[in-house]
Each structure stands twice: as C-alpha cells, then as structure tokens.
C-alpha cells in the first residue's frame, strides 16, 4: 500500500494479518491505596488512532503506562495481537513511546537516540544507519542527525522522539501528551503531521491528552475518561454531538443540558414541549427521567413559536467573530445557540423557537 520501507516491513510478505490490535479487559490499577484505574475495557482495530481523553488524574496516563509496561496492572488483562502481555517487562514489549518531556537521551546525538532501539535489537550497524536515515527523513529531521537534543527546538525534539519510537516498528505507538510542551501554533502543526504520518505508516496509535480539540482533530476514536473509568468510547463526531454522560458533555466544549421525561421513540418532553434526540445506548423507558445534550452550534433559532422545539425569548446576542452567540430564555432554562455569522440575528426580546436535528443531540438517562 505504501512506499516507505518502514511500512512494507510492517506487514511482511505472505502475512496478511494486520498487527497492532490492543485489547484491555477489566484493567485496574491501585496507586497509593487509591484505585486510579477501575475496570477499563478497550479494543483497538489495527491501524487505528485511539485517544484517551480526560482531565489530569483521570487515569489515562496510568492506563498508558500499563500498556507500555512501566506499571503492572493490579487486575485484568492486556493483550496485543492475542498475546497476553499483562506482566511482560517493558523491554520485552514492542511499544514506541513518545513522552511529554520528549525524554531524549541528552548525552546522545539525534542519530544515536534513534538508533538506540535498533542497537538493543542487535541490528547490524550498516542496516541501522540506513533505517535511522530513513526515519529521520520521514519526520523531517534529515541533516540534524549529529546534533544533540539541547541543540534542537521543542518541535525538532518532538520529531526526534517520534523517529526514535517509530524506527523499531512497534506494535503500538504510545503518545503521552506529546504536544503539550509546544506553543499553540506548533502544537497544531505537529499534531496534524503526526496524525498524517500515523495514517501513512499504519501503526496503531494510542494518544493520551487532556486537550479535547487535539483529540477531536486526530483520533479515529476517543475514549473519554474520568475517575479511572471510560465514560464514552466512540468516534469524535459521536462524542462531540452525542455525549453519553454529563462529564463527557461538559468536558468537551459547551453544551445545553435539558432535563425531561422520556416519551419513547427518541423523543422526550422538556418543559411540556416535545423534543427529539438520539438515545445513547439503550433507549430509556417511557416516563424515565432523561437529559438531552445539545451543542450550541447545532441549535437553530427560528422566529415565532414553531410548535416543535423550545419556545422562548432572546435574552442576549453577541458577535464573537466566527460565530454569533445567542442566549434564549425558555421554560426549560437558558439555551445557548452559536449561530453562523451570516445567519439572521434575532434581536434581544424577540420571541423565537430553538430546534435541532434529532441526530445532532443525545438523550441519556439521568
């Protein structure tokens, strides 16, 4: 499929079985008497880019460290391509890890850093040199091979760390907050580069981050974690538009959370009005207390009372550049809409109705 030697080696001729399938089954970890990871289940597709997203202390880094082997799970099972690696020492796993601090060996040149994993694998010097040169070119560091880490910029250090992780053709590429030490512009550029590179090489990647925008931008799927538990594991659009829990809804961007009663068939009653949304998981039984999550971006504001949707009065509108923020007071509480800047802007005091496509909102038991 791809032209780089790095990738062709990944799938040896004759074997079609794709590699890099990670499975976590009920993985737990207790640190300092506190359960920081509780029964995490997870399975990746080969070549997938999966992100563990959550605030600090949610257990995402601990989970990553268990996958890498720097911590041993206190319960559960970790498998890579069907092989149980739960208690295997880190150096006997095949994981390429990129750290927040880059963790380059300060006394070695870039080339020596990258070659380290190959040396540990006893790859012959000539082949080693070739592979190092290839991977450095891949990450755009050709010509920097004889520099020491301290002579590199933050972005270059991050590329070197990536090259070092990739050159061993790992089963999994583990990225531990790799962009958080970079300035905002560089962060965006590097994360896009890394995601493009990962797609090209086809290595399964696990990213740990607390930055929701980063997670949305690069991931095939996102696992949103809090208090050692995965709250939702789904594609970025799903997680964003249809959050499963309060935590997910609040953690990623702004949300309107409306309390109501399930009315069956993906509808519910909020403050006496019928409102549609997509149930997350099993549809709640009729009459059950539910909560509807709607992102401001999907809320449409029409003039007058249109029968369906939430009816209310515009309290405030504000021009924010790319969007217009419109707050509507409704019987169900305030609803915020982020309107495109070319939309008709309702004036404060105007009677309006807030509505949305049922597929753009989620419905969860409360």
């Amino acid at each position: 499929m791809t032209s780089t030697p790095l990738t062709s080696a990944k799938t040896p001729p004759g074997t079609d079985a794709p590699r890099g399938r990670l499975r976590l089954d009920g993985v737990r970890k207790i640190l300092g008497g506190k359960e920081v990871v509780s029964a995490v289940d997870l399975e990746t597709e080969p070549g997938e880019f999966l992100t563990l997203l959550g605030p600090s202390g949610c257990g995402k880094t601990t989970t990553l460290n268990m996958i890498a082997g720097h911590l041993t799970a206190d319960g559960g099972l970790i498998e890579v391509d069907g092989r149980d690696i739960t208690t295997v020492a880190p150096h006997r796993r095949s994981m390429g890890m990129v750290f927040q601090s880059y963790a380059l060996f300060p006394h070695m040149t870039v080339a020596e850093n990258v070659a380290f994993g190959l040396r540990m694998r006893k790859v012959a010097a000539t082949r080693r040199g070739k592979q190092v040169a290839e991977v450095l070119e891949l990450v755009g560091l050709d010509g920097m091979s004889e520099r020491h880490p301290r002579q590199l910029s933050g972005g270059q250090q991050q590329r070197a760390a990536l090259a070092r992780a990739l050159v061993i053709q790992p089963d999994l590429l583990l990225l531990d907050e790799p962009f958080s030490n970079l300035d905002a512009q560089l962060r965006v550029r590097l994360r896009d580069e890394v995601s493009a590179l990962q797609r090209r090489i086809g290595t399964t990647a696990i990213l740990v981050t607390h930055d929701q925008e980063e997670a949305l931008a690069v991931s095939d799927r996102i696992a949103v974690m809090a208090d050692g538990v995965i709250h939702q594991l789904d594609r970025p659009q799903e997680v964003y538009l249809r959050p499963a829990t309060d935590f997910v809804a609040q953690f990623i961007g702004e949300v309107n959370a409306l309390d109501g009663t399930a009315a069956g068939g993906g509808t519910c009653e909020v403050a006496g009005r019928k409102v549609s949304a997509t149930p997350v998981g099993q549809a709640p039984a009729e009459g059950a207390a539910v909560r509807v999550y709607v992102r401001p971006e999907v809320v449409r504001v029409g003039s007058g009372d249109q029968g369906e949707g939430l009816h209310g009065t515009v309290r405030d509108t504000r021009f924010l550049g790319s969007r217009i923020r419109c707050v509507v007071s409704t019987p169900a509480g305030e609803v915020t809409a982020a309107l495109p800047f070319d939309a008709r802007v309702p004036a404060a005091g105007e009677e309006v109705t807030c509505s949305w496509r049922p597929s753009d909102a989620s419905l969860a038991a409360r």
Binding site: A68, G69, H70, A89, P90, H91, R92, R93, S94, M95, G96, M97, F99, Q100, S101, Y102, A103, L104, F105, P106, H107, F116, G117, M120, R121, A161, R164, A165, I168, L174
Partner: protein, 274 residues
C-alpha cells in the same frame, strides 16, 4: 552614567582586585619562593633555581609520605564514587528502612567539626583495637568524602528525566542496559567531580590524619606540618607548589564536570553559565 556611578564602579574594581590579590597572595608567594636560591624562604625570590624541587626528591620521608597520601586518596576517591553512586540511587529512588537516618547523618556529617571527628575516631579505633594504618586513615577519610559524593550524585539524578529511562526500557533495553546507557551517563559528571574532590580532600587532610596516624605513618600534610615546626628552608615551598598543581588539576576537572560553585553549594543561578 553619573559621575558618582562611575566612581563607585572604579572603586569597586579596585576593591575586587585587592580581594583577588588577597585570595591568591599566599599561593602565589609560595610558588614564587620555591624558586629562590637562598637557603631560607624569602619573597621576592632571589635568583631562580629548581634546587628545592631536587631537594624534595632527595628526602625519602617526603616521598614515602607522598606515596601514603596518594594511595589513600586514590582509594578514597574510588570508594566514594561507588558508595556515593549506590547511596545516591538508594535515597533518590527507594524507600527502605534507615533511609531517613542515612539522610540525616549525611547532612549532619558536614556540621561536625573535623577535629571532633578526628578525636572521636582516635578513641573509637583504640576501643576497637584497630591499630593505626593506611586502612584506618582511609576509613576516616570516607566520612569526609562520601557525603559530597552522595550529594553530587543526587544532584545528577535530579537532573535526569525519568521518562528517559522509561523510553530506553520501551525501546528494548533490559534494566541493566537502561542503567548503563541512560542513568549512568546522567551521573557521570557527578562521579568524576566527586572522585576528584574526594581525592583532594583526602590528600590535603591534616586534621583527621593527625589523630589517626602514628609517627611511622605520616601523610604528606602531617609530614609538612611537623617539618615546618623545625625547619624553615624552601623545601616546603617546593612541595607546596606541587600540591597546588594537584589542586589546580582538581579545580579544572571539577569545574568541567560539576562546577566548583555547585560543589560548595551555590545555587545554579550564581554560576550564571548556561
């Protein structure tokens, strides 16, 4: 700049130069006087001769004292480096019974006067029935040098990103190779600096040695100290110059690997370098 500002600057410069002169005076005068042709010590030296250096070589008691001092100092340097590395790793990475006690002892060892340590060791060795020997002297010197070695190793380890060790393990390095390729290089400077400092501390020590050694076994500083009481010829200035050279080597090496200022506890910011 105002006139008073310039005046302050000039006065400051003059003052600093005087302090500098004060600092190097005894050393410079010793080195210069070692070249005098007179048979008594005088400064400025009269004439130039290397006669007193030859004189040193003709005194077997100085040569044997040098051998004792150098031997003990080399052993103290090597052992301090090894014990310091192990102790530093233990304190930095592990919780174990006795850790707090070790830390307390290491930090309070500095605070006990050397002369008190000397007399304590004298009485303790006597109680243990340990006769004075280069070995007991080595043991005594370790108490002076190991705390520095541990401290330097700890500083080195503090500068090491633990992620680098994880990275190495993840890249396939078994624990020993992680230690060899990542941990050890991080404390290399500390070990070299610590070893040189241990050498020079042991080699120069007079206070402890005075208590631990007997008349048959004299280290170089003890020999010089005793010699000075009776003789006033320039031999001592020649030996002194040689010892200053030793110290200069140590200064250069320590400055290169850890920084002399850091050794004596100045914050990094005082160095102003890097």
């Amino acid at each position: 700049m105002s006139r008073t500002g310039r005046l302050t600057r000039v006065l400051g410069g003059v003052f600093a130069a005087l302090v500098g002169a004060f600092l190097i005076a005894p050393v410079a005068v010793t080195v210069a006087s070692s070249l005098t042709e007179t048979s008594y010590v005088t400064f400025p030296p009269q004439g130039i001769t290397l006669r007193w250096y030859a004189e040193v070589l003709r005194k077997p008691e100085f040569l044997s004292s040098f051998a004792v001092s150098a031997g003990v100092a080399v052993a103290a340097a090597a052992i301090s480096a090894v014990v310091g590395l192990a102790g530093g790793l233990a304190i930095h990475r592990y919780r174990f019974p006795g850790r707090a006690a070790l830390e307390t002892v290491l930090s309070s060892a500095f605070a006990v006067p050397t002369i008190v340590l000397g007399i304590g060791l004298l009485q303790w060795f006597a109680q243990m029935g340990l006769a004075s020997s280069p070995f007991t002297l080595l043991l005594a010197h370790l108490v002076l040098t190991v705390p520095y070695a541990v401290r330097l190793v700890l500083a080195g380890l503090a500068g090491l990103d633990r992620s680098a060790e994880k990275a190495a393990a993840g890249l396939g390095a078994p624990p020993f190779l992680v230690f060899w390729h990542v941990t050890l290089p991080a404390v290399r400077g500390a070990l070299i600096g610590g070893a040189f400092f241990a050498f020079i501390t042991s080699f120069d020590d007079l206070t402890v040695a005075l208590f631990v050694v007997t008349t048959d076994l004299q280290t170089l500083p003890v020999r010089i100290f005793n010699y000075m009481q009776y003789d006033y010829d320039p031999t001592v200035t020649a030996i002194g110059t040689l010892m200053v050279l030793f110290a200069l080597v140590a200064v250069v090496v320590i400055e290169r690997f850890v920084g002399v200022a850091k050794l004596f506890g100045a914050d990094e910011e005082h160095k102003g370098k890097e």
